[in-house]
Symmetry: C2
């Protein structure tokens, strides 16, 4: 950095560094020790900050955990815009399958369905919100005429993502590229424009 | 019953009555109190039988719980054979949605994904086995020429069932007939025979 570049205020930079360190520690503890291990005290110790700083910034343990999950998943699940609905969906759902294939991704999903009396039930809808962002890929496909005008974008996203979640949570079956391709193609063929 | 009808041996009848009473008590306790509440002792007390009789018949708590779940779900999830793949699938998945819409069905699904150190992990695959029985409906559709010859029957069943499970476990969104119809029609259109 040269002297002529505007530097961020030192306080803001320190705040952002602290935020990243705390969120990384929270994701790490959630993945390795589950909800019960991710107390504010444990996260603060792992991040090397004071517990009071964590409370000052996030207010509650719940806010901290939701912020950690959101930050982690939003960066792991970009929504592509290639101009072709099939490529967009293959890209997005390959990322989701990869994420759910990691120990961390599985832990995050698993703790989303676990009961925890210390947290309000705001964790489940959180995955739905991630998937809501994927709906735009289908909408663009409809607008370009690649898919039928009466396509239900949310339903299509559910039909592709549902089996991925279920394999992790219930059957333990593998997530691979062939599965993602099979699900995307089945759903897309089902949503093709139909002759009158 | 008239005197001329052959009667089941009294012992066998008593054994079957005991089996049903114990399984009903197990399902009831699983639904209302979860895995931790469904101990062999509690089930035996609720069914009015001796704990030793339960151990003599099922051997382990795990076998008892799996037997209870299997009996409950197999009778709640018949696999229709109407001669039309769409009617078969609508019938089957409407039953599944209805089951998952009851407090009992939700509890059974929820405990399938809960960790429990006292049980080996044989509960998840159990749902997959139930769905495996559904695959035959798609196979018959392929044989009748209603669906493309290269249809993957397991994948189609996953694409319809996945969203139902995910709605219960993650999003909390409703399961209704319109959802079942939408998912069945999307998947079936995706599997229609295609012109060469």
């Amino acid at each position: 950095m040269t002297a002529s570049e505007p530097a961020a205020p030192p306080l803001r930079r320190r705040g952002e560094r602290m935020r990243r360190a705390v969120l990384a520690a929270a994701v790490d503890l959630l993945s390795t020790q589950g909800l019960t291990g991710a107390t504010v005290g444990a996260v603060a110790r792992a991040a090397g900050v004071h517990e009071t700083s964590v409370y000052r910034r996030w207010g509650t343990r719940e806010n901290l955990i939701l912020d950690a999950l959101t930050t982690e998943l939003d960066s792991a699940l970009p929504v592509p815009d290639t101009g072709r609905v099939r490529d967009d969906l293959l890209g997005f759902f390959s990322s989701l399958a990869r994420l759910l294939g990691t120990a961390q991704g599985r832990a995050l999903l698993r703790l989303s369905v676990e009961h925890d009396a210390t947290l309000e039930d705001r964790r489940g809808p959180y995955w739905s919100e991630r998937l809501d962002r994927a709906v735009v890929m289908v909408r663009r496909g409809v607008e370009r005429g690649e898919l039928a005008a009466d396509t239900d974008p949310g339903l299509l996203i559910e039909a592709v993502s549902g089996p991925l979640f279920v394999r992790v949570l219930l059957s333990g079956a593998e997530l691979d590229d062939a599965l993602v391709r099979g699900l995307v193609d089945l759903a897309l063929r089902g949503a093709l424009p139909r002759p009158e």
